[in-house]
């Protein structure tokens, strides 16, 4: 008998019928002998409905009140799911974040979980009840309602699993697991049975948006076994855990990519200490997130500085950079919003030489020009012209034999 925390997102509980389907699934799992704690999101569309009500009234609503408003979305779902379970004859209790004391800091709209009081949950589980907890929300020390930010329900589930020392935290989504790459690009893409937290982090941040990065970090920090599964189809999904030294690792786990990148370069900047922060400071001040950063020093005591941003931020970033470049006495500003980032990810590459070489060779063989390169311990990313995206991903998927079960 295992203690399992399950999380169902907004699409999985988007209608009365789907809530009933989730209830049936829970009863099936309970009948298999498991203790169940269930975290649910707001019904799909609900959070946006509430947000637009808020925006009709106040263009910059106060964080505290926004949390009071938004947290009602999940509260509706927990009540309805418990009613569905009761209708099928199964006892269940619902709890808001405040009620099970998911204690957070007081950063409204993106609070961080500090502590969970698992007392009520354990009491209910001991009575054979299914416990249903509102995702995305908690309360601070003063009892003010807080929310964890979009996608926070995944974090709630992982935090509960950590507090309860659950055997597994299962995230039910609309995909049936993590793939070696996007199956819409490479039809041979294969579902991975198992990857490490680190690989998942690199995959997630690179656009394979199956899980919220934050919940994966949380799972890694507390060593929670995390599983991604489909709400709508059967299957074992993908298990995400720490690296197992006994297990032979695949060298490369997957090919991630991100279509929404744009790059900006300032050419011929006088090369002196502090230049990077002078360039990126004004960008950060406008809350534009920077992804890759590359700097190369030339011979004439000037340097070229390149970075990438989300494509939506391209025009704003270009405007800021042009101003900065002028004040720094740089030669020129260039940009390109028709680029894409492709990355190979795998913990195995740490102990295998030549991965970078295979990657660059593969791209060269396809005559794909590499604009930027960036590496981490378990990832190599390249920026290429967006027209080469599919070609690059397919060629790399093939070169690393990802279609074969390792």
């Amino acid at each position: 008998m295992a203690l399992i925390v399950q999380k169902y997102g907004g699409t999985s509980v988007g209608t009365v019928e789907r809530i009933q389907e989730v209830a049936k699934k829970l009863i099936k799992h309970q009948n298999e002998g498991h203790n169940l704690v269930v975290v649910v999101s707001a019904m799909s569309g609900e959070t946006n409905r509430l947000l637009s009500l808020a925006n009709e009234i106040n263009d910059r609503p106060h964080g505290r009140e926004l949390d009071v408003l938004l947290s009602t979305g999940e509260q509706v779902t927990i009540a309805l799911l418990c009613m569905a379970l009761e209708q099928f004859g199964v006892h269940a209790n619902s709890y808001t974040g405040g009620q099970v004391k998911i204690l957070t800091d007081n950063t409204h709209n993106k609070a961080r979980i500090m502590e969970i009081d698992d007392n009520k949950i354990r009491t209910d589980l001991a009575k054979g009840r299914i416990v249903v907890v509102a995702g995305f929300q908690g309360c601070d020390k003063q009892g003010n309602i807080t929310t964890l930010g979009r996608g926070g329900s995944d974090t709630t589930a992982v935090a509960l699993a950590a507090a309860l020392k659950a055997d597994e935290c299962q995230i039910f989504t609309d995909v049936d697991g993590v793939y070696t790459t996007d199956p819409r690009v490479v039809s041979e893409a294969r579902r991975l049975d198992h990857i490490t937290y680190e690989e998942m982090l690199e995959m997630a941040s690179l656009g394979a948006k199956v899980l919220q990065i934050r919940s994966v970090e949380f799972a890694r920090n507390y060593n929670v076994a995390l599983r991604v599964l489909s709400s709508f189809t059967e299957g074992g999904g993908t298990l995400i855990t720490a690296e197992d030294p006994k297990m032979e690792q695949a060298v490369i786990s997957g090919i991630a990519f991100n279509r929404d990148e744009a790059k900006l370069t300032v050419l011929g900047v006088p090369d002196h200490p502090g230049i990077a922060s002078q360039i990126l400071g004004p960008i950060a001040k406008e809350n534009i997130e920077v992804d890759m950063i590359i700097q190369n020093t030339g011979s004439d005591s000037t340097t070229d500085f390149t970075f990438t941003v989300h494509r939506n931020d391209y025009q704003a970033a270009l405007k800021i950079l042009t101003k900065t470049a002028e004040s720094l006495g740089a030669r020129e500003v260039a940009g390109d919003d028709k680029i894409t980032k492709v990355s190979v990810v795998g913990v195995g590459m740490r102990s295998h030489a030549g991965i970078a070489n295979t990657m660059f060779e593969t791209l060269a063989n396809e005559a794909i020009n590499i604009c930027m390169i960036s590496t981490s311990e378990i990832k190599i990313s390249v920026v290429v012209d967006e027209k080469y995206l599919e070609l690059a991903v397919r060629a790399l998927h093939n070169a690393f034999n990802l279609e074969q079960i390792s």
Copy 2:
């Protein structure tokens, strides 16, 4: 500077625009120097929307989960109202029932308030903030969400006023006060500046549904000055307080009536002790509320027993009564669902003889037959054929000179 608790119902906060209007009104009152605590209901329609979601899932939803669900309605309103106040530059804090510790018993869906912790509210008021509290809800000792039943927001407001020792509790509705009778029936009907709790209780229970009976009882028990005003028009409304011995009371305050009555009679029941409970027991068991009850003993050791019920319950009550009559060996069952109840109400009648006589004479002059009579210390009610309703009310309104300011 007064401390005022104000309550705005579902219609008053039914749209974003109306919420903004309420915010403006609050700011005006604050600028007049008042400390304000505001209780709001769910936006009109919201409670029904939530209820129908629940009923789609479970035909008899568990009380605990229904409360979790329904309490979100008011939670949405408190957040939106605070956002509207902030937009106008006024600081406000919202609280759910659980957050200000409106402690109730654990009778879900119709909980009773036991205690209120006014600590947070007083702290906010001292900082010059407007405090917005969700009506209709509280929590029990274990922290479970409870609701007070329909119309419970009035009760929340009165309970807060009692706990805070507020100078006045103002209930904003869609009528501008309590009238001597329904102005749609008697165009000369006059708004009362002042009536007593007892009169209001008799008026409310008789169909002048301006305030929830329960909140008036609560106000009387804690001696809270209660005022009914319109959300949409200016004016002083009607103040409801304890009887003021210094004040000359009007003999009669108003004429109330109830269209939705039906009467049932069982004729020729053997007259022995316990007969009343044998007749009404099966009715009560089906949760049918009985209003007036009259029993007359005949000469032949049998009795006639008559009572009234809500017209919606007439058929059900008739069926039950027919069965009961058979088992009791009664002669006959009769019924009439085309009746109406008309009452004259006034604390003044306690010290004035002849009110009943004036009433009966007035009705006799109009050739209106009286089917039933029932009296209390401050009320005389008669049941008449429903076709005489308007005629009876107008004649009585005129006979007691209610159109003139007393």
